[in-house]
């Protein structure tokens, strides 16, 4: 026990103080156990359990690997997550950089941050409808474009398929990027530009040798987080496509919950377990890269 801990508990004996002190956080741990850890661990446990006998098995994982329907769902989820993570990261970064260092009036920055706070939380069902109003076959923009002789639905665009859904996901992806990349851009010190110019470097060389390498861990970390953000998204896709046109992993789990569409309870757990694994990798990757970025940007 450290000095400071002893100091704030003058009346009690240190040893008993320690055990009583842990009691203070028990409500939290009990709550977290009941409503987070236990339900989550159910998924893990039942993934490795035979649905009938309850004995340990790898059958569910093997079935998952063999099921083309489930694999297709994962692959679609991963594809849309990669596309929208990259798109959101690039666009979000350019926006944030423009607002912070682009020589724009100061109020642009705070406006962008407010918009981003709103947009990154404006997701799910209402978001889906907003894009239906904009880009469905009778949507506002569709009609405008039709009026100038350009019908996007003639060119293979559909709001309810991959690229349409990607466009909708971008609505919460790029604002999230703006919010999480901002500290990194703020961390780019002005003296670095000046020091590199002073040493003879052009703007391009500054970006190539200094700014980009410094930002790279942050950019990668944020892109990974955006990937996870899209990967776990469910309500938006469900509301937009009614859960039929786009078989994402989350949609499969939703359908499995409504009724055992996979015809195999154990497989349902395995699909959910797989998502948790992917998200865990995402969060670990994010925090590792974030720590690396902070070391430089302090």
């Amino acid at each position: 026990m450290s000095q400071s801990q002893k100091r704030d508990a003058p009346k009690a004996r240190p040893v008993s103080q320690m055990s009583w002190a842990w009691l203070g956080v028990m409500p939290f741990f009990i709550f977290a156990f009941m409503f987070l850890l236990y339900p989550s661990s159910t998924i893990v446990v039942r993934t490795f359990q035979d649905a009938e006998t309850g004995s340990f098995t790898l059958k569910n994982i093997i079935n998952l690997m063999r099921d083309p329907y489930v694999l297709g769902a994962y692959s679609l989820s991963i594809k849309i997550s990669i596309v929208t993570a990259l798109g959101g990261a690039i666009f979000g970064f350019l926006l944030a950089y423009a607002a912070i260092r682009g020589g724009l009036p100061r109020f642009m920055r705070s406006s962008l941050m407010t918009f981003s706070g709103v947009a990154s939380n404006f997701a799910g069902v209402p978001l889906a409808f907003a894009f239906i109003a904009l880009l469905s076959p009778t949507g506002m923009l569709t009609n405008w474009l039709k009026a100038v002789g350009f019908n996007i639905y003639d060119y293979g665009f559909t709001l309810f398929k991959f690229w349409g859904l990607s466009l909708v996901y971008m609505y919460f992806q790029f604002p999230l990027m703006v919010l999480i990349i901002t500290p990194a851009i703020d961390g780019l010190r002005r003296e670095w530009v000046e020091a590199s110019e002073n040493l003879g470097a052009t703007t391009f060389q500054y970006w190539r040798y200094v700014a980009f390498p410094i930002l790279l861990p942050s950019l990668l970390g944020c892109t990974i987080l955006l990937f996870g953000n899209a990967f776990g998204a469910f309500a938006t896709a469900q509301a937009l496509t009614g859960g039929s046109a786009m078989n994402l992993a989350t949609i499969v789990i939703g359908a499995q919950l409504r009724g055992d569409v996979l015809g195999d309870l154990g497989l349902g757990y395995a699909v959910a377990f797989g998502m948790v694994i992917v998200m865990t990798v995402v969060m670990i990757g994010y925090s590792v890269l974030q720590r690396r970025a902070e070391r430089w940007l302090k």
Binding site: A32, Y38, G117, N121, F129, G254
Partner: protein
Amino acid sequence: MKRGGVIWSWFWMILGILYFFLPLLATFIFSLKAVKDVYSFKAYVNVFNDPAFQLRFPASILWSVLTIIAAILIFVPTAYWVRLKVPKARPVVELITLLPFVVPAIVYVFGLVRTYSQPPLLIVNSPALLVAGYTILSMPYMYRAIDTGLRAIDVQTLTEAAQSLGAGWGTILFRVIFPNVRVSILSGAFLSFAIVMGEYTLAQYLAKPAFAPYIALLIQNKAYEPAAATIISFTLIWACMGIIQVIGGQEQSGQIAGGH
């Protein structure tokens, strides 16, 4: 910054503004078209007069408020106690508060339903489970907001000062600590409010009345009313973010997004 750079900055900003506002504009215009050939607020009137709305919108508000109360009662004492007495618990507590990011909402509700829908744990129909679930979903924002607030004040000294003046733990917590982290609690509370009001997955699969599933239903059955409901939902989020900005007086730090 060179002149060309500024032009590019404006270019990206305008593109961002269009991306942000066009869907909202389309929705808004659409919401005004309920009566043929004139703009009207008929769709909004219809929504407000819909008995389903009158049940589900207040229900969502109730869930939000209960969630916020539960979150404050659980997380403030915990965060305070961890800072003051059991710093060793800190890494574990922080890890747990970040776990909801690892478990997507649909996976989480899958776990909840499967865990609590068979005896002896048959509580899947209890509204308390929904509130508990929302409290878990709001945990990363709430706990972090509170913990950041506590970091800004000197918990140790404040507690010692209160103790030396003869205050008990209840007085310390409610009269000293709560008021000092009020701004952080409020920011976290409004963020949680915005998230719960727009939350679809938990309410849908725990079969409880709520606003987002109601909009989903409207989308399937009506044309103009879902537009009105979308605008209402958007206005709510905007109001919450606006309030957070005003009370916080500064930019929100990076929020990792909610239940999509």
